[in-house]
Amino acid sequence: MATTSYPKLQETLWHEKLDNGLEVFILPKPGFTKTYATFTSRYGSVDNHFTRPDGTTIKVPDGIAHFLEHKMFEEPEGDIFSQFASQGASANAYTSFDRTVYLFTATHEVDANLDTLLHFVQNPYFTDENVEKEKGIIVQEIDMYRDNPDWRVYFGLIEAMYSRHPVHIDIAGTADSVRSITKEMLYDCYNTFYHPSNMTLFVVGGVDPEATLERVKRDQAAKTFAPGGEIKRLFEAEPPQVKDKRKELSLPVSLPKCLFGFKEESYEGEDPVRRELTTKLALEAVLGSSSPLYQQLYDDNLISDGFGHEYNTGPGYSFSMIGGETRDPDELAARVSQALYDAAKNGISSEVFERTRRKKIGAFLRMMNSPEAIASEFTRYRHKGGDLFKVVELYESLTPDEINERLKEHADPDRLAISIVRSGTA
């Protein structure tokens, strides 16, 4: 077992890679009442076509990673939520493009809850009947999101950008794809992606790190797993251009919702975390709430408080997303993209760079109060080969030149797409 200390943050991380391949991280938070644990599979909605360690290749229905997440909570002895509840723990799970995360929060019986987490995620129990029953629930979940304009405009933009890469497929799939899922397919996916060597356990809170790690090791040593191996994810070649420059759909909304952004070629180079932070810093410098542009757009009644930006990257995809609600989506997109082109041409001043960096460091340190955010972000960075606890140093090593270069590269007018949701005329 190894420890890494981060004196600046006053944190010490304990970590070990177990014999079965599972990576375990423990961040003790002395004085904290609660413990938060995540058990994460490097498996998300984009992993729908892959070659298994035994060499066979399969393609699976859309939404199956999310379906699998739902079904993991059922065990022969009953519903796993009830067991967590008996131990005073609140459990949950979520599926994203590239991860499935199972989690619990507990203030008591942390050991028992940790056992339960490891047990249920490593103990699939699918029957024809329980798979069938879940379909009605998931179809309602899909319907709920279909009525949600924020979700629709978000996915609309990804659909506009990507033609081949499965990132454009809704995480929950469609009613039809969900109905086609069988327990055999669930086992196929489970056996491929839930091998310990494809998973990460992160525990943060008021725990004794050594005792906790020992407990996890004993638990894992007592279980047998088929030998792991390389999983090859198969993505069709995605063209660099956006699929559609513009995508519109109608839903009842008070004002049009609009998101736009730039699609990039997937980045396979070194230090993807650095690239992510530079991109986010550059966007914040130009579009953040203390920028002159933001204030002008607000004064002109083109944006509301919800205006913002993000930058998403994962296996085979990389794009920015900017926007919010607006009276005039086209004017908003035109003015914001022009401001980005201008900033790319003229450069961001070192004063603005410094202020934005300060803001980012502050936001990062505030986030470090939240065990939930630490666990989620740590795992996300880890999957990219980065280290969350080195973010402050990373920010401190950035230069205005680097930000400016990144912005130039990112804000490519030929890679801009826009997604709009507005009320229908009917």
Partner: protein
């Protein structure tokens, strides 16, 4: 849980300071509450929107926001909500502790000085608010009110309460009334704001590496509140459910129907039966092991979400679920059966234990978040309850099945609200 709030007063303001070294930040919350009224709801709501545009020292919004960036990206914001029969404005400031950055300023002093200016020394022109800010924020608030319709889950929840409480001020949105915005100009709003400063109850909370003495001295320098004594919050008025349940059906272009129920309960937060009521809510619909989740979702596969929420300050219980329109009758029947079962004392001892363990966990967990500890304490201040986390956990543990059944007798259905599609519209 050895850390305790230290209490003091300064003129009209109660001070609550939680000295702690556990967090990397200082957390500041300022609560200002007045009775919720038809006449003043809109001016009370609009004032904080204008206050966050600029202060005497930072009159331009850009300089105001740059100031926050310079304070290491301090998180500043405000919330508006109804609590009991009051309308509360809460300002929040979350800022990193100096020891994590190399800074020579006392960040806490800077933060309190900033917050004091926001509340009591706004940017003015000719002895009133700046018209430009007032007009822009009228637009912002009006857009916020209109935007409620975008999130159908929230919209249905607001509409259900509005219909249920149509004869009392609680039907109003904490954001105020759109139709009252037009008449509010810079002068009128400034007068209303001055009066609000005279009338509101003020509670300032500071959590972090500090003391009551330090905060007291800093607040004295930074806040210019009218002199006087702190005022108390009046207890809420409990109302019975209407004698016959009303059913409201509203149609919109939605895919999924939203079924909400509004109920009156016989006890509020300050009552010694509140613990029983909280356990009642947990058994009915607070958790994944609760009756609503188990019966509406797991057994009948009718919904993705089905839950209940207790507003203990007002004495209202709400039920919510998203269903296919065709399943309306079925879902209403199942939900009413769960209410009847609770009245008849039909719940398992195991589920009672689970619920107590879960609520106990939530109460212990909130010790780890400065803002949640503050919110818990403020609930005491508002309701006159004198609970600590530990004493409340003991109360929850002492709840018996008989006590739950007793409070169930006071829970009465008042309103059924259904948001549905336009199919078969007559």
């Amino acid at each position: 849980m050895s850390e305790q709030f230290q209490r003091g007063t300064l003129g009209r303001m109660r001070l609550h300071v939680l000295p702690t070294k556990r967090f990397k930040t200082f957390a500041l919350s300022l609560f200002a509450g007045v009775p919720l009224t038809e006449e003043k709801v809109t001016s009370v709501a609009l004032a904080p929107f204008v206050l966050r545009r600029g202060t005497q020292s930072f009159p331009e919004t850009i300089s105001f926001r740059e100031r926050l960036d310079d304070l290491y990206g301090a998180g500043f914001g405000f919330d508006l909500y109804k609590r009991g029969d009051h309308q509360i404005v809460q300002f929040r400031l979350d800022m990193i502790n100096d020891r994590f950055v190399s800074s020579s300023d006392s960040l806490l002093g800077e933060a309190l000085s900033f917050l004091g200016e926001v509340l009591t020394s706004p940017a003015l022109e000719d002895g009133k608010f700046r018209s430009k800010y007032v007009e822009a924020e009228k637009t912002t608030i009006s857009k916020r009110i209109e935007a409620i319709i975008n999130d159908k889950i929230r919209y249905a929840a607001e509409r259900c309460v509005e219909e249920m409480c149509k004869d009392e001020p609680f039907r109003l949105l904490a954001l105020g009334r759109k139709d009252q915005l037009a008449e509010l100009n810079a002068d009128k709003l400034y007068q209303a704001y001055r009066q609000w400063l005279q009338e509101a109850s003020f509670d300032l909370y500071v959590s972090g590496d500090t003391t009551l003495e330090e905060v007291q001295a800093l607040v004295e320098k930074s806040f210019r509140l009218p002199t006087g004594e702190p005022s108390r919050y009046a207890p809420p008025s409990l109302r019975p459910a209407r004698s016959e349940v009303q059913t409201i059906v509203e149609r919109m272009d939605v895919g999924q129907g939203k079924l909400n129920m509004g109920l009156r309960v016989g006890e509020t937060y300050g009552s010694d039966k509140y613990a029983s009521l909280l356990v009642y809510n947990g058994l009915l619909g607070g958790f994944p092991h609760s009756k609503l989740f188990m019966n509406v979702r797991e057994k009948a596969s009718l919904a993705y979400y089905a839950s209940s929420r207790l507003d203990g300050h007002k004495g209202i219980l709400t039920l919510q679920s998203g269903i296919e329109t065709a399943n309306y009758e079925k879902a209403v029947k199942i939900m009413r059966e769960q209410l009847d079962a609770m009245k008849a004392g039909q719940f398992e001892a195991d589920d009672l234990r689970r619920t107590q363990a879960m609520i106990g966990g939530q109460l212990r967990e909130l010790q780890d978040s400065a803002f949640e500890r503050i919110a818990f304490d403020f609930s005491n201040v508002m309701s006159g309850a004198e609970r600590t986390g530990d004493s409340f956990i003991a109360e929850i543990q002492a709840v018996t099945p008989e006590m739950v059944t007793a409070v169930a007798q006071g829970v009465e259905l008042d309103t059924i609200y259904f948001l549905r599609d336009r199919k078969e519209e007559s």
